[in-house]
C-alpha cells in the first residue's frame, strides 16, 4: 500500500500566485443592468454596433436559465453582487511600455511573464490583461511588419471595427449559452489576432490574464482570425490572488480558420482554486469554439487545467471545410474540493474531416473530475474520422472521475472510435522507481508526467516545461 500521507504531502504546495497587487483601480458600481452595459460601452468608446450587440445579448441572457446539467455543486452566484468593470488607473494613453505603471510590470514580472522589451530573447509576444483591461501588448512593431495584428480587443474595436463587426459572435453567438450571453453583454477586454493571407506568424503570441480584485468578475473575449494559408500558435495563461470569496470568470474565445490555415491554441489555466476546505477560488465558465471554415484548415486546442474551484469548459471545433482537422489535447488536474467538468465537442459537418481527442484527467483529494464530450457526424460528413481517448487517474479514495462521452452519427461512411479507461498510480511502478533510488515524490510526479505525456507533447516548448512543473507542484502532498 502506498503511504497515503506521503502522497498527500506531494500535492500540498501553496498557491504561489496568490498575492494581491496594491494598485489604485477604477471600478464601477456592483450590479448588472442596461445602464451598466451602456457605461462599459461608453468607457471603452465603442461604436454603436457593439453596444447593440451587448444589449441584445443582455436581453437574451435575462431570459436564460443557468445550466445545471453538469451537476456541479456550488453556491448560487449573485450576478448583481459583481463588479463588471475594474481597471488599474493609469495615464490616458500609453505610447510605450515605459509609461505603464511600474507596479503592474512588477506584478507580471513576479508571475514570470516577460513584458519588458529586454526580455526579447523569449520571442513571445504578450498581451497582458489585468482585471478588465489590457495593459500592454509587446512586439507590436515586429508583428506589424508581417501584417499580423495583435492587440487588445478594445483597440481592435477602434482600429479594425470592420473585422470585429464581421466576425464577432459568428462562432459563439450571443445566445449560445448562459455564460456566453453574459460575456457578450459585459465583456471588457481580451485579445484580438489577425493573421493575413499566407503569413506564418513569426513568433508565438500569448495573452496573460490576471484577476486582481476580489469582487470584480473577469469577462474577456478573444477573437483569432487566420486568413488563407496562414498559421499561428497562441498561448494563454491565467492566475488570480487568493480571496475567501469566489470570483466569476466567464470568457469567450472564438477562432476562425480559412482555407489551409492553422491555429494552435494552448492554455495553462492556473486560477486560484480555493483552499483545502474549498473556500474561495475562481468559478471558471468558459466557452471556447473554433470554426474550421476553409478547406484543409486546422484548429488544435491543448489545455492544462489545474486551477479554479469550478471549471466548466468545452473547447470545440466546428469542422465545416472539406478535409479540415480538429484536435483536442487536455490534462485536467483537480485536488482538494475542486470540480472540473471539461471536454470537447467535435462537430463534423464537411466531408473528409478528421478529429482527435486525447483527454487525461487526474483527480486527487475530494475533487470531482469529469470528461464530457460530444462527437457528431452530420449527414454530409462522408469519409470523416474521429478518434477519442480519455484516461483518468485516481489518487486517493475520495476523489471521483467520471466520463460522459456522447457519440452521434448520421453518416454511415464515417468512423468513430472512442476508448476510456480509469486507473490509479501503479504500486509496482512506484516500487520499481523507488528501488532504483528515486524519491517517492519524484517517482509519483514522473508517473503523472508520463501519464500526461501525450498531451504535453502537443504543448509549445515553454509551456510544456511549465505545465510539467505545475502539475508536480499541484500534486505535492496528495498521492495516496
Amino acid at each position: 500500500m502506498v503511504n497515503e500521507n506521503l502522497v498527500k504531502d506531494v500535492v500540498k504546495e501553496p498557491y504561489k500566485y496568490g498575492f494581491v497587487t496594491d494598485i489604485e483601480t477604477e471600478k464601477i458600481e456592483k450590479g448588472l443592468n442596461e445602464d451598466i452595459i451602456k457605461l462599459i460601452s461608453q468607457k471603452k468608446e465603442e461604436p454603436k454596433f457593439l453596444l447593440d450587440f451587448r444589449l441584445k445579448a443582455f436581453k437574451k441572457w435575462q431570459k436564460m436559465k443557468e445550466p445545471d446539467w453538469a451537476a456541479l455543486g456550488y453556491k448560487k452566484i449573485d450576478y448583481q453582487d459583481i463588479i463588471y468593470y475594474s481597471a488599474p488607473k493609469q495615464k490616458e494613453k500609453i505610447s510605450s511600455l515605459d509609461e505603464v505603471d511600474p507596479k503592474l510590470l512588477e506584478t507580471f514580472d513576479k508571475l514570470g511573464i516577460p513584458l519588458t522589451e529586454q526580455k526579447k530573447l523569449t520571442n513571445v509576444a504578450v498581451d497582458a490583461v489585468f482585471d478588465s483591461v489590457s495593459i500592454a501588448t509587446t512586439f507590436r512593431e515586429e508583428l506589424a511588419e508581417h501584417g499580423v495584428i495583435f492587440c487588445s480587443i478594445s483597440e481592435a474595436v477602434k482600429n479594425h471595427a470592420d473585422l470585429i463587426e464581421k466576425y464577432l459572435g459568428t462562432v459563439v453567438p450571443a445566445s449560445d449559452n448562459y455564460f456566453a450571453a453574459l460575456n457578450s453583454a459585459v465583456f471588457s477586454d481580451g485579445s484580438f489576432v489577425y493573421i493575413p493571407k499566407g503569413v506564418t506568424c513569426p513568433m508565438d503570441l500569448s495573452s496573460y490574464f490576471r484577476i486582481n480584485s476580489g469582487d470584480s468578475g473577469q469577462f474577456e473575449r478573444t477573437l483569432i482570425i487566420a486568413e488563407e494559408s496562414s498559421s499561428v500558435s497562441y498561448l494563454e495563461g491565467c492566475t488570480a490572488p487568493m480571496f475567501d470569496t469566489n470570483t466569476l470568470h466567464a470568457a469567450v474565445v472564438e477562432l476562425i480558420a480559412l482555407d489551409d490555415a492553422s491555429i494552435k491554441y494552448s492554455t495553462v489555466q492556473n486560477w486560484y482554486a480555493g483552499d483545502e476546505e474549498g473556500i474561495g477560488g475562481i468559478f471558471n465558465f468558459v466557452t471556447k469554439r473554433g470554426k474550421c471554415l476553409g478547406k484543409r484548415s486546422k484548429i488544435s486546442w491543448s489545455q492544462v487545467e489545474t486551477g479554479s474551484a469550478i471549471t466548466w469548459k468545452y473547447p470545440s471545433c466546428l469542422l465545416l471545410g472539406e478535409e479540415s482537422v480538429g484536435e483536442f489535447y487536455s490534462v485536467a488536474l483537480t485536488n482538494n474540493l475542486q470540480q472540473a467538468d471539461t471536454g470537447t465537442k467535435m462537430i463534423h459537418i464537411g466531408p473528409k474531416t478528421k478529429s482527435t481527442i486525447v483527454s487525461k484527467g487526474i483527480s486527487a483529494g475530494n475533487s470531482k473530475n469529469s470528461y464530457r464530450g460530444l462527437v457528431k457526424m452530420g449527414t454530409k460528413a462522408t469519409g470523416s474520422r474521429n478518434y477519442s481517448q480519455c484516461d483518468s487517474m485516481l489518487i486517493g479514495d475520495q476523489a471521483s472521475a467520471n466520463t460522459f462521452p456522447y457519440i452521434k452519427s448520421q453518416q454511415p461512411n464515417s468512423e468513430i472510435e472512442h476508448e476510456a479507461s480509469t486507473c490509479r498510480i501503479s504500486e509496482d511502478q512506484l516500487f520499481y522507481l523507488q528501488s532504483r533510488g528515486i524519491e517517492f515524490e519524484e517517482a509519483v510526479s514522473m508517473m503523472v508526467s508520463g501519464f500526461c505525456r501525450d498531451v504535453f507533447n502537443q504543448l509549445p516548448m515553454e509551456f510544456a516545461a511549465e505545465a510539467d512543473k505545475l502539475l508536480a507542484l499541484k500534486l505535492e502532498g496528495s498521492v495516496g
Partner: protein
C-alpha cells in the same frame, strides 16, 4: 393518449390491487416522463404517444409460439394464461411465489423508484392486473431450461410482470420471449433477485410485427458470489425501449451482458443500462451492438457507477455500432462514474459501416456482394446470439435475422 387520460382521471377503483393503486398515485401528478431528461430526450414523442394510444387488454388471445418445444423436460410458461406451477423434484423445485411474498417484494422495489427513471416500471405495475403477474421461486440445480412468453394482442396494450427469486446455490437457464402483434403495445417488467452463489443464463428475445411497440424493463439484484449472464436481442419494433438496471448489492458478483438491437425502416429501438456496484470485487463485462438501416434510429446509453465502497471493481463496457444507411442515425453514450480508486474500468465505442476490405476480399473469391455482406453480418450477430440460451435446432435466430428481417 388513452392510457394517460385514464391515469389522470383515475378514481379509486375497488378492482385495483394495492400495488396498482400505489403506482397510479405515483404517476398521477406527472403521468409522462420528462422529455428533457437524459433518459427520455432521444425517445420520439410521437412513438411514445403511439405506444400509449391503445386501451388496456387484460385478457389474452391465443398466439403462435415461434418454435416447437423440442424436449419434454423444457418448462414453458405463458404469462397471463393462469399458469399454475408447482414442481418439486429431487434436485430442484419451482414454485409460484405466494401473494404476500410477491406484494412485499414489489412494494419494496417501488419504494426506491423515481418517477422519471422508473417510469416504465411504474406504468407497468399500475396496469398489470393480478393475472398478468407471474412470480416464481426457483431452487436447486440441474433444472431443465425454462421458457417464459409474454405477448401483446393486436390493437391493445398488454402489461405483463415477471418476478423471479433464485434461491441460494441455484443454477438455471431461462429464456424470456416477448412477442408483439401488429398494432400493439407490450409493457414488460421483470424483477430478478439472485441470492448468494446462484447463477443464471438469462436470454431475452423480443420481436414484433408491423407497428408493434415495447417497453421492456429489467431489474436485477445480485447478492454475493452470484453470476448473472444476459444475452438479449430486440428487433422489428416500431418503438422499443429496453431498460436494464443491475445492482450488485454487496459486490463480489459477476455480470456479463451481451445485447443487440436491430432497427430498420422507420423504427426506433433503444437500450439503457445502469449498473451499480455496491460492494468490492465486482465484475462486469458488457457489450452492446446496434445496427441501424433505412431511416431508423438506434440508441444506447450505459452507465457504470462505482462508489467508494466498490474497491477492486473490474468493469468494461463496449458499444459497437453499424450504420448502414445515409438516413439512419445512431446515438451512443457509454458513461463511467467512479469514486473508488483501486478499480479497473474502461469503455469503448465505435460507429462504422461494414468493412470494405473484407467485402472486397470475399468478392475477389467469387462471393457476391449480398452474400459477402450477409457473411459479415452473421459474424457480427453470432457473438450475441450464441450467448442467448437457446439451441440452434430449436429456433434459428441467425437465419431469422439475416433472411426474414
Amino acid at each position: 393518449m388513452k392510457i394517460i387520460e385514464k391515469i389522470k382521471t383515475n378514481k379509486s377503483d375497488d378492482n385495483l390491487t394495492e400495488i396498482q393503486k400505489i403506482c397510479l398515485h405515483k404517476l398521477q401528478s406527472n403521468p409522462l416522463p420528462n422529455p428533457k431528461s437524459e433518459l427520455w430526450r432521444l425517445s420520439k414523442k410521437s412513438k411514445l404517444s403511439n405506444f400509449l394510444d391503445y386501451s388496456v387488454n387484460e385478457k389474452d388471445s391465443k398466439f403462435d409460439i415461434p418454435y416447437p418445444k423440442n424436449s419434454q423436460s423444457t418448462i414453458r410458461l405463458i404469462i397471463g394464461e393462469n399458469c399454475q406451477i408447482k414442481l418439486i423434484e429431487k434436485n430442484y423445485s419451482i414454485q409460484q411465489l405466494s401473494e404476500d411474498e410477491l406484494q412485499k417484494y414489489i412494494k419494496e422495489q417501488i419504494s426506491f423508484f423515481k418517477q422519471n427513471e422508473n417510469w416504465s416500471d411504474l406504468l407497468n405495475l399500475s396496469l398489470s392486473c393480478k393475472n398478468n403477474i407471474l412470480g416464481l421461486k426457483i431452487n436447486g440445480s440441474k433444472i431443465p431450461p425454462i421458457e417464459i412468453f409474454s405477448h401483446a394482442s393486436s390493437n391493445s396494450l398488454n402489461a405483463k410482470t415477471l418476478v423471479i427469486f433464485l434461491e441460494k446455490n441455484c443454477d438455471v437457464e431461462l429464456l424470456q420471449v416477448n412477442l408483439g402483434k401488429e398494432n400493439s403495445s407490450l409493457s414488460q417488467s421483470t424483477f430478478f433477485c439472485l441470492k448468494e452463489n446462484s447463477s443464471v443464463n438469462h436470454g431475452v428475445v423480443s420481436y414484433g410485427e408491423n407497428r408493434s411497440n415495447l417497453l421492456n424493463s429489467l431489474n436485477v439484484i445480485q447478492q454475493k458470489n452470484s453470476a448473472y449472464n444476459l444475452g438479449s436481442l430486440h428487433f422489428k419494433f416500431n418503438y422499443a425501449r429496453f431498460e436494464i438496471s443491475i445492482k450488485q448489492s454487496a459486490g463480489n458478483a459477476k455480470t456479463n451482458i451481451k445485447g443487440m438491437q436491430i432497427t430498420k425502416k422507420n423504427e426506433q429501438i433503444s437500450t439503457y443500462t445502469k449498473i451499480e456496484f455496491n460492494g468490492p470485487n465486482g465484475f462486469l463485462d458488457q457489450i452492446n451492438k446496434s445496427l441501424a438501416d433505412d431511416k431508423s434510429h438506434a440508441i444506447f446509453e450505459g452507465s457504470i457507477i462505482v462508489p467508494k465502497i466498490a474497491q477492486r471493481t473490474d468493469a468494461s463496457q463496449l458499444s459497437r455500432n453499424l450504420l448502414l444507411s445515409n438516413l439512419a442515425q445512431i446515438d451512443t453514450k457509454p458513461q463511467l462514474e467512479i469514486i473508488a480508486d483501486d478499480v479497473k474500468c474502461k469503455h469503448g465505442a465505435t460507429i462504422s459501416q461494414l468493412n470494405e476490405e473484407e467485402l472486397f476480399y470475399m468478392r475477389t473469391r467469387g462471393i457476391t456482394l449480398t452474400e459477402a455482406s450477409k457473411l459479415q453480418l452473421s459474424s457480427y450477430f453470432q457473438e450475441i446470439i450464441s450467448f442467448i440460451p437457446i439451441s440452434k435446432d430449436k429456433w434459428d435466430l441467425l437465419d431469422k435475422l439475416l433472411n426474414e428481417n
